[in-house]
Symmetry: C2
Subunit: 301 residues, 2 copies
């Protein structure tokens, strides 16, 4: 679809609302789900957030002409995986954060044991949704591929592995290649999944289109993280929902700390241009993905 | 198959060896997997253990005439889910255990952050295996049902929920119904999964047979836990691989602490008889499952 700035903002708001409704559906209390665990799960998943990953799922589906109803499950699954990773990353033994999305972290609001279990149960819920959601794409083989993809990119060879590299890097001096490797796993892998889950929902997508979308995903996954690091230096606590400079204060390597602020900003712009290039095989139907890439490097929170 | 005591023991040893080989295959190091995380995952999964859950998968497959190669993936998945739950249960914020299977717990051998991440990555690996393993049953729909089942029974409505109930129960006085509810979730759900994954691998299984196997699974899931509680009172540390009386010392409700040792033993026997009754629609091909039920209530470690 052809869109302008205002239409983009409206679409993003619609996607955010859409996934919040869908998440609410999957996180209803029932008599089997222990109440405190259920509350910790809901508290973390439905906390105010940008919903970047579900937006990517919906935007890719829009670009490919896939009915959004068919990717509601995928949108929920990636946001739930993201939420579980935040809960566990915030734990005292990991990043030891008290504040997340402007509210107490899960283990501060509830307790450590509930936070560990809420994360565990959320991971299971993500896989449950993709295997179970009756509205999703009817092709069982495609669904299995989605599960394989999500499991691969959220596990030791993806997101969890990236967090392990991250923890091992505290206080060490990484070079830029090592820092990129960390983020390709920690943030990039799940962002690739978002795009791929929608691509797998499109019944008639060719290999060329699939690869182009994956290249796009790799670029914006990294530019998103670079902008995060930049904002850690430049934005204030109220805007970010977490203390300003919290990463650098913990002696975590960041793009600005290794290559400087200016070069980081240039690198983010470069990745944005590469992302646009990857999309060049698509016409205006992919404009929303172009807008998202621009948004990632221009955002102020 | 018709078996005797000695054949049973041989089979169990074969199943244990078989799953250890298969687990070893899925836990090979590679350049993508961060080394320390990988080591923590291997350490916990390949720790000496009874491999009860994989044995149930293989035994059910044998009883139903399913080629064992087709359930290697399922056997690995349930053991990996079990291993991740042990890692997280042992954490300081949960049961705070130093010893597991006769060795230091994962967070004592490595560190807390690695233990949290190893558990997370193992959960993802379990789903990866079922979605990916090319040797498994060819029917994509059956595989999706397996994933749905594993996700449901390991999440907030199953194993993780049971652990939440368990933690909430420390220091409280539960009645026998509440204690059973806890164990039906905490241990029973995953044991039901073991049987169901193999049942889903059998192409020609009727609804009656499926339900009979599930009834059997429910009985032995509970009798296994009761025997665990009994052994916590009666066995010594060296035999159990964890300190004797560790559950009762932590003021955790157990079957002996609520209904007494003798009545607990009687209840376990009763469940064994019910398990045999559930299997009555099967002929001698289910003997191995009958032996397992007897083993669960007679075992001394």
């Amino acid at each position: 679809m052809r869109i302008d700035d205002q239409a983009f903002e409206t679409l993003i708001a619609q996607f955010q609302q859409r996934v919040d409704n869908a998440l609410d559906y999957w996180l209803q209390p029932d008599s089997i789900n222990p109440m405190r665990l259920h509350q910790a799960m809901r508290y973390s998943v439905l906390a105010p957030g940008k919903r970047v990953r579900p937006i990517l799922v919906y935007a890719t589906a829009s670009a490919l002409g896939v009915d959004l109803e068919k990717v509601d499950g995928a949108a929920c699954a990636v946001e739930i995986i993201h939420a579980y990773s935040l809960i566990h990353d915030d734990l005292p033994a990991m990043d030891d954060d008290d504040l997340r999305r402007g509210r107490p972290t899960c283990h501060r609001q509830f307790d450590e044991a509930s936070a560990i279990l809420a994360g565990d149960a959320l991971q299971a819920l993500a896989f449950y949704i993709i295997s179970h959601d009756p509205k999703m794409v009817a092709d069982d083989g495609a669904r299995l591929k989605m599960i394989e993809n999500l499991a691969m990119f959220s596990g030791s060879r993806g997101m969890a592995g990236g967090q392990a590299i991250d923890l091992a890097a505290v206080g060490k001096s990484l070079n830029i290649a090592e820092l990129e490797t960390m983020h390709i796993h920690k943030t990039g892998a799940l962002i690739r999944t978002c795009i791929q889950l929608s691509a797998l929902s499109a019944s008639n997508l060719g290999e060329t289109e699939f690869k182009a979308l994956d290249s796009y995903a790799k670029c914006i996954g990294l530019s998103f993280q670079i902008q995060d690091d930049i904002l850690d230096v430049t934005a204030d606590t109220a805007t970010m929902g977490k203390p300003q400079g919290s990463d650098s204060a913990r002696n975590k390597p960041t793009f600005p700390s290794i290559i400087g602020l200016k070069e980081s900003q240039e690198k983010a712009q470069e990745l944005h241009q590469q992302a646009l290039l990857a999309l060049s095989i698509f016409a205006e139907e992919a404009d929303i993905l172009r807008y998202i890439s621009a948004w990632f490097v221009q955002r102020t929170h």
